[in-house]
């Protein structure tokens, strides 16, 4: 296939010696440029199924590559590397390594849903983007998002205590996501709270942080819940 543009070649496939003399002829720099072939050697058949197991990815198999999604895409207008049509193709064939070259921008989908509204096959590309981002996160290919950190802390407290404690949720969230515990808004919150001095409320909040009360007769409920959530997740993505 003809090379349309040099920018389409991955940099690591371009071989070039800055100084090279062959048979007494100086062929330094671009005179000796070689390109290693980009041969695809296999498909990962189950990859499409894995993406389909994530919410939003169910219809990815319907795609026939018309490009309507990319055409209409808000992000594509900003960056032509953001190409849902191309990613859906890679997902369908299980060309994971190719897909991973764009792993740092797939999450950028803004969920405007223009693609989903225009798609003639009802692939719901916006959902596929979401499913792919979740799969990457689950597999540690991309860092956890802030919302995932929040979800995890929230779920942890629910399972542990049968209830949440707002202060603990915020602290846990900031810890998990490596953010400073002293936030400007918390300082402001404290200042305003101290003006009104709601002593009873402050005392109650303090007690809850220290003693961490559980929901009445919580017992083993948390363990059972955790077990169930884990089983559901495994059934969805590996079943």
């Amino acid at each position: 296939m003809a090379i349309h543009e040099k920018t389409l070649i991955d940099p690591d496939r371009i071989l070039q010696h800055d100084h090279l003399v062959v048979d007494g002829v100086d062929v330094s720099g671009s005179w000796n440029t070689m390109i290693t072939p980009r041969t695809l050697t296999d498909y990962e058949e189950n990859f499409e199924k894995i993406i389909q197991s994530y919410s939003g990815g169910e219809n990815v198999h319907r795609c026939w590559q018309c490009g309507s999604c990319t055409n209409s895409c808000t992000m594509y207008a900003q960056n032509v590397d953001f190409n849902p049509r191309y990613w859906i193709y890679l997902i369908r064939l299980g060309l994971k390594a190719e897909l991973m070259k764009d792993k740092d921008i797939i999450w950028q989908c803004v969920s405007c849903n223009k693609c989903t509204n225009i798609c003639p096959k009802d692939v719901r590309p916006e959902g596929v983007m979401k499913a792919t981002a979740h799969w990457m996160e689950d597999n540690g290919l991309t860092p956890k998002t802030l919302s995932t950190h929040f979800d995890e802390e929230f779920t942890h407290q629910c399972i542990e205590f049968g209830r949440i404690e707002d202060t603990e949720v915020m602290m846990g969230f900031y810890k998990r996501s490596n953010q400073p515990l002293v936030q400007a808004w918390i300082v402001e919150f404290g200042k305003r709270l101290s003006k009104g001095l709601p002593l009873g409320q402050l005392a109650k909040m303090g007690m809850n942080v220290v003693f961490r009360p559980k929901t009445k007769s919580w017992g083993k409920t948390g363990e059972v819940l955790a077990e169930y959530v884990k089983a559901q997740k495994e059934a969805a993505h590996h079943g």
Partner: protein
């Protein structure tokens, strides 16, 4: 005329005309009921240019089919007329027409055709907004005039874009079928445009090219190789207008993975074939079923190919789904023969 020697033919397009001629050639009477005030169906009413694959002008080719039945003593014709009520059963139908007349017939052939997709239902592609956005039927009419010009200001277009699958293969608007003929019609149209206006370049924007069977080299390859039609694999997202008055087609060229914004002078929608808009009424009047897309449903496929879901009523042409003219004519002959066999009580159908 009695029920035992008469077949009622509804619709006088290529399929219905073919059925009527077949019935008459077997010495039976055909009574044609046509809703429009002229015979010939879509190719005549919509003013098609040269037909695929013969290359003959529609008014000549279909005109010949019309004069064949008009000159046949075994064929009676009711124009601007509909069937309003049907009583009886196979061997002894009694149809009441909108002009008050009654027709006795032993069997019935429906050649009730299709309705062209209305491009207004895809507003992002500019039809109804820009004068220079046309449908294939409008472009065929322009070819018929022998001049290719932009409707907005009469200039000769430098570039014409034909967008395929407008109103076909699109879940968003509930058209989950391929209209079968638009790819071939479009490649044919591209050649006609180039023939009339050699300075005009034609681009066809496609998802797939489905010039089936022998149409592959006669139309697809020929338009590409001899008429220099350019094929671009892109489904256009929208058609807009640039400040200089030309149209802009926007989309992604999927083969080069690049966005495109290309100036065009005329954009043509290759419109698909919808079920006849009157099919619900037709189904009710004749007591027959429609299939899931809204076309007329067929009986058992292999022993009663042209049968409807009601005994003694047959269907042919684009009434059953998107169909080309040649096949519609063949189906008309087939339905006509089956209908005549009913007059003798000769049908053997697997149930």
């Amino acid at each position: 005329m009695s029920a035992q020697d008469t077949v009622l033919v509804v619709g006088a397009g290529p399929a219905g005309l073919s059925a009527a001629a077949t019935i008459a050639s077997m010495g039976k009477k055909a009574v044609i009921v046509e809703r429009e005030d002229i015979l010939g169906g879509a190719p005549i009413i919509s003013g098609y240019a040269k037909l695929v694959p013969s290359g003959e002008w529609a008014k000549d080719a279909i005109g010949r089919m019309v004069s064949r039945v008009e000159g046949d003593g075994n064929v009676a014709i009711h124009k601007s007329t509909k069937v309003t009520m049907l009583e009886g059963e196979v061997g002894n139908f009694m149809a009441t027409l909108s002009n008050g007349e009654k027709v006795e017939a032993g069997s019935i052939v429906l050649g009730t055709g299709f309705t062209h997709f209305d491009s207004i239902n895809k507003p992002e592609w500019g039809f109804g907004t820009y004068e220079d956005v046309l449908t294939t039927t409008q472009m065929e009419q322009m070819v018929g005039t022998g001049q290719i010009t932009c409707p907005s200001d009469g200039r000769v277009p430098e570039r014409v874009a034909i967008l395929l699958c407008v109103g076909s293969r699109d879940r968003q608007i509930g058209r989950e079928w391929c209209s079968k003929i638009c790819c071939t019609v479009s490649t044919n149209l591209a050649m006609e445009i180039k023939e009339i206006s050699p300075s005009t370049d034609v681009f066809i924007y496609y998802m797939d090219i489905r010039t089936f069977g022998l149409y592959e080299d006669k139309f697809y390859w020929k338009s590409q190789e001899e008429y220099k039609t350019k094929f671009v694999k892109a489904r256009i997202a929208e058609v807009t207008k640039s400040p200089d008055g030309r149209l802009l087609v926007k989309g992604e060229d999927t083969l080069v993975k690049r966005p495109i914004v290309i100036p065009m002078d005329i954009v043509v929608h290759a419109i698909g074939m919808d079920p006849n808009a009157l099919n619900p009424e037709i189904a009710k009047t004749f007591g027959i079923g429609l299939e899931k897309h809204g076309f007329i449903d067929r009986a058992e496929q292999y022993t009663n190919s042209q049968g409807t879901t009601r005994k003694g009523i047959y269907v042919c042409g684009a009434a059953t789904g998107p169909e080309d003219i040649d096949t519609s004519i063949a189906q008309g002959q087939s339905a006509g023969s089956r209908a005549v066999a009913d007059l003798f009580g000769q049908q053997k159908v697997a149930s």
